[in-house]
């Protein structure tokens, strides 16, 4: 089973209007709000990436993005700050690392839950896993 990294402390994140607009352009979003998948940019924060990288380094493996879920209780707002808390859990068969993230206002009001499931694929088996690498993301 992959090790479970120590979760980073809650991250203070921000809906940057320019970055949100760029994200919308690259994902075909034409609405007036913040794209629902925009928090993906927060999950690429160094603290999160480093934690995933450590698990993969220990397992001599690479992360393959297997599934993604966003559930919203309220919409994100441009130029607002939020607290992003990330917890990790692992599964043994097959090896997976799952990120459970919550987005909350600075007053603690829950806004969104995000689940990111990563398959931990041994480097030696990577070529054989290529057929299912659609979301092979770091």
């Amino acid at each position: 089973m992959p090790s479970e990294p120590v979760p980073p402390p809650p991250l203070r994140v921000h809906v940057d209007p320019e970055r949100a607009a760029a994200y919308a352009r690259e994902t075909g979003y034409r609405g007036a709000g913040v794209p629902f998948a925009y928090p993906a940019v927060w999950l690429s924060a160094k603290a999160v990436r480093d934690a995933i990288a450590k698990v993969c380094e220990d397992a001599e493996a690479v992360p393959v993005h297997e599934s993604q879920t966003f559930s919203y209780m309220a919409p994100l707002r441009f130029d607002e700050e939020y607290d992003l808390a990330v917890a990790f859990r692992s599964e043994e068969t097959p090896p997976r690392l799952i990120l459970d993230a919550t987005v909350a206002t600075l007053a603690g009001e829950p806004i969104a839950r995000i689940e990111t499931m990563l398959r931990i694929v041994p480097r030696a088996g990577l070529a054989g896993a290529a057929a299912s690498l659609s979301g092979a993301s770091s």
Binding site: R19, A22, Y23, E26, T27, G28, Y29, R30, G31, P35, F36, A37, A40, V41, S44, A45, H65, E66, S67, Q68, T69, F70, S71, Y72, E115, L126, A127, A129, A130, A131, S132, L133, S134, G135, A136, S137, S138
Partner: protein, 139 residues
Amino acid sequence: MSAPALPAPGDRLPEATIGPFDAEALQRYADVSGDDNPLHLDDDLAKMIGLAAPPVHGMKLFAFFESYLADWRPDLAVASISGKFVQPVLRGETAKLSGRVLRASPEDGVFVRLFAHGSARVPAIIGEATLRMRSGAGA
């Protein structure tokens, strides 16, 4: 004015095609998202694992479902959405989006099964979304 009717179970969403996405588009997505995994950007690395070209970021494709759903029913808003990444869509390929309503009720919202197909028979992404009437849209 009467509220818009909810879709019915079995209703199919009109198909839509996205892409193809070139290397510049993948680089732009990497830059804005922070997902700079070289697999999506490096031809040689993709070939090393048996892919003819770098795969499009799964999240980039997945995010297109939001506009796809909004084009179908702008009066409904996405409350939750999930996707399982099954097969790669490679740089230079298009993807076909499709969907079908599985359940719909005023209380629980509209539950839609979603698919993104690349060139393979197997879907690239299998998704599901729960939609709710936007406030002010009635129902």
